[in-house]
């Protein structure tokens, strides 16, 4: 799998799992998703997610938008610019 796809797939998965664990506890009184085992999950859960969460949104957003994708082609907007980009 190409690098950026691998980064997106894994970062999305583990960030979602962390958010699901928080919301499951808060709303449902349940634990979070079933844990995955191994070195790779350890890296993403114990290093990537905590570091990501400490970074300001602007920086995270800039890194995400720095990856190749459709958003970097021309897109006409008929409305205000992205709210979350500010």
């Amino acid at each position: 799998m190409p690098l950026f796809e691998w980064v997106r797939r894994n970062s999305e998965m583990y960030l979602l799992e962390a958010a699901q664990a928080d919301l499951a506890r808060r709303y449902l009184g349940r634990p979070g998703p079933v844990s995955r085992r191994g070195l790779q999950p350890l890296f993403w859960k114990r290093l990537f997610v905590p570091v990501y969460r400490r970074l300001p949104w602007r920086l995270r957003h800039a890194v995400i938008l720095g990856m190749p994708g459709s958003h970097r082609r021309s897109w006409q907007r008929r409305g205000p610019p992205p709210a979350a980009a500010r």
Partner: protein, 444 residues
């Protein structure tokens, strides 16, 4: 000279593209390749036939083969394209001659994620997709007593509901703590869960499927919490973009795995367009590319791609993704993202939540509606929403998607005008109530 437009894929995006190309250039030779035996049917309706809410698959057919023949479409049914040669402008076709093209629309759709578990190739595992296969599986469901649905992604939610509706003992198994946890929030799904329990669905959340057991046919699902004997399995896993042909041809692919396109649905290759589940497009609020939207998105994208393929310029826009569906006995829906995705991404937001009703309280059959709005903290512009209710969800999600697109704020929503008529609308609009609560939260 007659322009040859090839379309790979006969679903919403592909047929949208074919139709738009023909409409813009009646003389164009439009060739649609589909590996299925049918086009122009609604695959989204399949779970409702399985669940016996729609009585026959015939109702899902929008147009027959004769219709397209009369209009001059060249549709190659049951025909798989095995390669795209951009240099020679030819498609390699399985079992047939190469097909030249002047412009091409790639509408290759999606594939279900296949878990890397043993037994995945056993008989008795159903991937919901193709109407002919659905007809075959509906016969199998007649003699099915117990079924497992592996993962509660949207199709898993619909199939769990359908199977339970049909009286089949249904086990829904998902490694996440609630259904559709990658898309919907836990408070939004709670009523759905409760209604599933009422319907007899056995819920196994925080439970991973480790293997499918059987000899020849699946006979049990091995989970992290024990084995569940079953007669068949429905795969309710994620939809991944089917980008194999595009990738092999050297067309650029984005981080979602979807084909990279611009506002005209043009890819990185000249004269090649793409649309539907195989592409990624930017989400309007964040500009982050997203993939795997709805049939209405695919169809609209297809129309832009088809117009482009015959040299007419149309534009698509970044998306705000209104979505909605039925889960259990409830309607659920949303716009852009809810609390789960916003928290995962780390997008700053404030929320406003309220419960209201769909008609006057004194009018028969009023239904509860829960609305959660997410807004950007500084400007209070709407950036997302999630809803659950007995009725009125689709209209509200459509409205909120447009509101988000136009930069409408919680302030404007809090004091919005609304229809009040006892049979169709309550005095207090739940969206306005949620926005008022959001303003209160924002002001601390």
């Amino acid at each position: 000279m007659v322009r040859r437009v090839a379309v790979i894929g006969g679903s919403a995006a592909g047929m949208g593209a074919a139709g738009a190309a023909k409409q813009a250039d009646a003389d164009a030779h439009v060739i649609v390749f589909t590996d299925q035996q049918d086009v122009a049917y609604s695959p989204c309706g399949i779970p409702y036939v399985h669940g016996r809410e729609i009585d026959t698959f015939d109702r899902l057919i929008l147009q027959g083969r004769e219709y397209y023949q009369q209009l001059g479409y060249d549709i190659r049914y049951g025909t798989r394209v095995r390669s795209i040669d951009l240099g020679a402008r030819r498609l390699g076709v399985e079992g047939g001659d190469d097909e030249p093209f002047d412009s091409l629309v790639v509408a290759t759709g999606f594939e279900y994620e296949r878990p890397a578990i043993s037994g995945i190739d056993l008989e008795g595992i159903y991937y919901v997709r193709d109407i002919r296969e659905a007809m075959r599986w509906d016969q199998i469901l007649e003699r099915t007593k117990v079924a497992a649905v592996v993962e509660a992604q949207p199709i898993g939610v619909e199939m769990a509901t359908a199977l339970a509706h049909r009286g089949i003992e249904t086990h829904l198994v998902d490694p996440r703590p609630w259904a559709m946890a990658d898309i919907a929030d836990p408070d939004i799904m709670q009523p759905v869960e409760d209604s599933w329990r009422e319907m007899g669905v056995k819920l196994h959340f925080n439970t991973r499927v480790e293997a499918l057991l059987g000899s020849g046919s699946v006979r049990a699902v091995r989970t992290s919490a024990g084995d569940v004997p079953v007669d068949m399995v429905v795969m309710g896993t994620r939809k991944l973009p089917n980008n194999r042909l595009a990738r092999q041809a050297g067309i650029k692919i984005g981080s979602t795995g979807g084909v990279i396109v611009d506002q005209h649905m043009a890819t990185s290759a000249s004269g090649v367009f793409a649309a539907g589940d195989c592409v990624e497009v930017p989400q309007g609020g964040t500009n982050i590319p997203v993939q795997g939207l709805s049939g209405s998105h695919a169809y609209a994208q297809g129309k832009v791609a088809g117009a482009g393929a015959v040299g007419r310029s149309r534009s698509y826009q970044p998306v705000y993704v209104p979505w909605g569906m039925v889960g259990g006995k409830w309607m659920i829906g949303g716009v852009s993202f809810g609390e789960t995705i916003a928290s995962a991404l780390g997008v700053p937001f404030v929320t406003g939540v309220a419960e209201g009703i769909s008609r006057a309280r004194y009018y028969p059959d009023f239904k509860k509606i829960r609305v959660k709005l997410l807004a950007e903290p500084r400007t209070l512009r709407l950036i997302g929403a999630q809803l659950v209710g007995g009725e009125g969800i689709k209209e509200r999600c459509d409205f909120l998607a447009m509101a988000a697109r136009k930069g409408v704020t919680l302030e404007e929503l809090a004091w919005m005008e609304n229809v009040y008529s006892p049979a169709i609308g309550a005095l207090n609009e739940p969206i306005a109530l949620a926005a008022q609560n959001g303003l209160g939260n924002a002001r601390g």
